[in-house]
């Protein structure tokens, strides 16, 4: 995975293991705290917090175990980079999942396609039987 040259570097980062349901909340709270600390507006903050919640939940529901890494990006602008890595079952039909093709009863489909629309950058690597890695970035909006 490669990013554009101006995307900034991860200045500080945290790691939270996702192994129980409460860890989803821990990830969400850390993201929320960072958006407050760096004064993101409520819309960007909510998008990041929601994306963090969706992706953490996917790890918990489908892989039962994984890692969330949260980093503050510093460059021309401030942003957050969130990555979620698991060694779960992987996503069998990625295109379908990203298009929101799974039924609404399946939390995976809706979460992925919806989350993609909330963030500025969305990168995913997945392989059946090996696991999934998702990296998202969203920048603070200065008006």
């Amino acid at each position: 995975m490669s990013f554009s040259a101006n995307s900034g570097v991860v200045a500080e980062s945290w790691e939270i293991r996702i192994e129980k349901e409460a860890d989803i909340i821990a990830v969400r709270q850390l993201v929320r705290e960072l958006t407050r600390e760096h004064k993101f507006d409520q819309f960007v903050a909510a998008a990041l917090t929601t994306a963090a919640s969706e992706l953490s939940r996917n790890v918990w529901v489908h892989a039962k175990s994984g890692v969330a890494r949260i980093g503050v990006l510093r460059g021309e602008r401030i942003g957050l980079e969130l990555s979620f890595v698991d060694k779960g079952p992987g996503i069998a039909d990625l295109q379908k999942a990203l298009a929101g093709g799974y039924s609404t009863a399946n939390s995976l489909g809706l979460g992925l396609s919806g989350t993609k629309r909330l963030v500025d950058e969305f990168h995913i690597e997945t392989e059946t039987g090996l696991g999934t890695t998702i990296v998202i970035r969203k920048w603070k909006k200065d008006f």
């Binding site: 709270q29 998008a47 979460g111």
Partner: protein, 128 residues
Amino acid sequence: MPSGGIPILRIGHTLLATIQLDLHDTVVDAFQSDVLEEMERTGADGLIIDISALESVDSYVARMLSNTGKMAKLMGAETVIVGMRPAVAATLVRMGYFMTGIRTALSLEEGLEIQASRSKDGRRSEIP
């Protein structure tokens, strides 16, 4: 009233539930059954869910709210969700999540007025 979970108050024929921040999924699930049981116990035909404390709502919570509304409807109750923050509304629309089974109002006051106006139509039965 159920303990350890989301407080559910009764105002006339209406139940009012106020959701606080950062719910564990188990609290979310318990809320749904608590509300329905309280509805049966009191005979309430209206439900107001106040989400003004929520700064974000993910698809899991949105689905729970929607399903609770549909379940309440099967029991003869209308559900109004109040206090949705701008960022929550924006996020839900951007995610493409459309909540059915519920209607919304901006304030708790407006939600109470909506529930109260339903009784004026004479659709409500006598208080047991």
